[in-house]
């Protein structure tokens, strides 16, 4: 379908300023958001303008070029993602029932949780691997570009009011115990058992600018690619493809598909419904 532009409107000027801002951020701070989905960026930056007290993105750009503290605040708007533990329980059930039996055949297992944000899905996998008795020969790599989110992920602390839905998901995903076996509650928060993360490596890594750093048997990257345009999706999927061993697994979000990617041919459906693919 043809697309139209609204050349003379404020919205059109906003889009121009948005491109310039992302270029400025890249040149100054080396964080590359230039291939993020435009429609979500528009909403997030509109919110940031409002909260940070600016009228236009040009004004904001002028300030962030000179004020790293202000950029750090803007960075949160550009990156923060909130997930849930065992989000989409059937996905985690499929990993438990279909993927783990194959992973078990490897003497040592490497898992990459790409774009782990505040760590909900990382902890979910750590619990699942512990219950399936393969945690002691697994190393989990949890990466993100947001250092604050990584610290939050590493702490394993979540507000107690989120635990009811986490627990519901855990059971629906085939959890074998009670989720409360894995955390201690105090001061309105739940802190997950630190032994679960003894074999987790938390690292700063950008799917937009960094390269392959491990040979993985499972890459789980859910609801991260939806924020990328097709070019950046292809870059990320290329990294996953290059990281995975032959017959290694890739898990995506429930509405993310390899269909539109040039890397589609590098993968075969493993469980199409749960968006689990296997490197060919």
């Amino acid at each position: 379908m043809p697309h139209r532009t609204l050349k003379d409107t404020e919205e059109a000027i906003f889009d121009i300023e948005l491109k310039l801002l992302l270029e400025a951020v890249y040149l100054k701070y080396q964080h590359d958001f230039r291939h993020y989905s435009v429609s979500s960026l528009r909403r997030r930056l509109t919110q940031a303008l409002h909260d940070l007290g600016f009228t236009t993105l040009s004004q904001l750009q002028e300030r962030i070029l000179r004020d790293a503290t202000l950029f750090a605040r803007l960075f949160q708007y550009l990156t923060v993602q909130v997930s849930e533990m065992f989000r989409d329980p059937p996905y985690f059930r499929a990993i438990r029932e279909q993927v783990v039996p194959i992973l078990q055949t490897y003497p040592s297992i490497k898992v990459w949780v790409a774009g782990c944000s505040s760590g909900e899905e990382l902890w979910s996998l750590a619990i699942l691997f512990a219950e399936e008795n393969i945690a002691d020969r697994t190393v989990l790599y949890a990466t993100d570009i947001n250092a604050d989110a990584l610290r939050q992920a590493e702490s394993g602390i979540y507000p107690l009011d989120r635990l009811a839905s986490f627990s519901q998901n855990y059971l629906a995903a085939g959890g074998k115990r009670s989720l409360s076996d894995y955390y201690h509650a105090a001061y309105g928060a739940a802190k997950f058992s630190q032994t679960l993360k003894s074999r987790v490596v938390f690292a700063d890594h950008s799917l937009a600018t960094d390269s392959v750093f491990l040979e993985a048997h499972l890459v789980s990257c859910r609801n991260v690619l939806i924020y990328f345009d097709r070019a950046l999706q292809d870059r990320a999927l290329g990294l996953f493809s290059d990281s995975l061993v032959r017959r290694g697994f890739l898990g995506l979000g429930s509405k993310e598909s390899l269909r539109f990617s040039k890397h589609a041919g590098s993968f075969a459906d493993f469980d199409a419904r749960e968006r689990l693919y296997q490197k060919v």
Partner: protein, 195 residues
């Protein structure tokens, strides 16, 4: 502010918002769209995200047009109905593909009608028609403002106090029967030749 139905000839996309109570209304309108319907139709319904998505199957069985729950980066094709997946915002990118997001609910809703409408207005401009069906809250009001500002058309179901009162820019307040009849005329061949 009562453009003739002729101005619908230029419409390339229709965005529809409905609360959970609006499923009945959708059931009135979507099956009435003929097989040769030209515009693309993008729909947000407020449903609880934990419930499995039954709407695509429900509407597929009743509609003459293909009904799709799109994946991220799906192309938008004319004559196809796209239902926002539960738990995701559905947005339109500048290149007229669909993108999805798990950003927080907007005014308690994800998917949000406003999020779809505002992004679609920027892509489709004066070739967009926005339709708000009966709903329980004001989700859709801001989206209709955006569509109107971009030169698109706006319809609201009659009676629909929540949005109509908040929305002086609505072009038409229509009953479901009139909506269905007007939409049914937007089929292949009704489009005026350019120039």
């Amino acid at each position: 502010m009562t453009p003739s139905t002729d101005s619908l000839d230029a419409i390339e996309a229709i965005v529809i918002g409905a609360s959970a109570g609006g499923i009945e209304a959708l059931n009135h309108i979507l099956p009435a769209l003929p097989a040769n319907f030209r515009p693309a139709v993008l729909v947000v319904v407020h449903v609880r995200s934990e419930s499995p998505s039954l709407l695509p199957a429900l509407f597929s069985a009743r509609c003459q047009l293909p009904v799709v729950e799109p994946d991220d980066k799906n192309e938008i094709a004319g004559g196809t109905i796209y239902l926002a997946p539960p738990g995701y915002h559905m947005l339109v990118e500048p290149d007229c593909t669909i993108s999805l997001s798990v950003d927080p609910p907007v005014r308690f809703s994800r998917p949000s009608v406003d999020v779809l409408f505002e992004s679609a207005a920027l892509c489709f401009a004066d070739t967009l028609l926005g339709v708000v069906l009966s709903g329980a809250n004001d989700d859709g009001a801001r989206g209709l403002v955006a569509i109107s500002r971009a030169g698109g058309r706006c319809w609201v179901q009659d009676p629909h106090t929540a949005v109509a009162n908040a929305m002086p820019l609505v072009h038409d307040i229509l009953t479901l029967d009139v909506m269905a009849a007007r939409l049914a005329r937007m089929a292949v061949g009704t489009r005026r030749e350019p120039g």
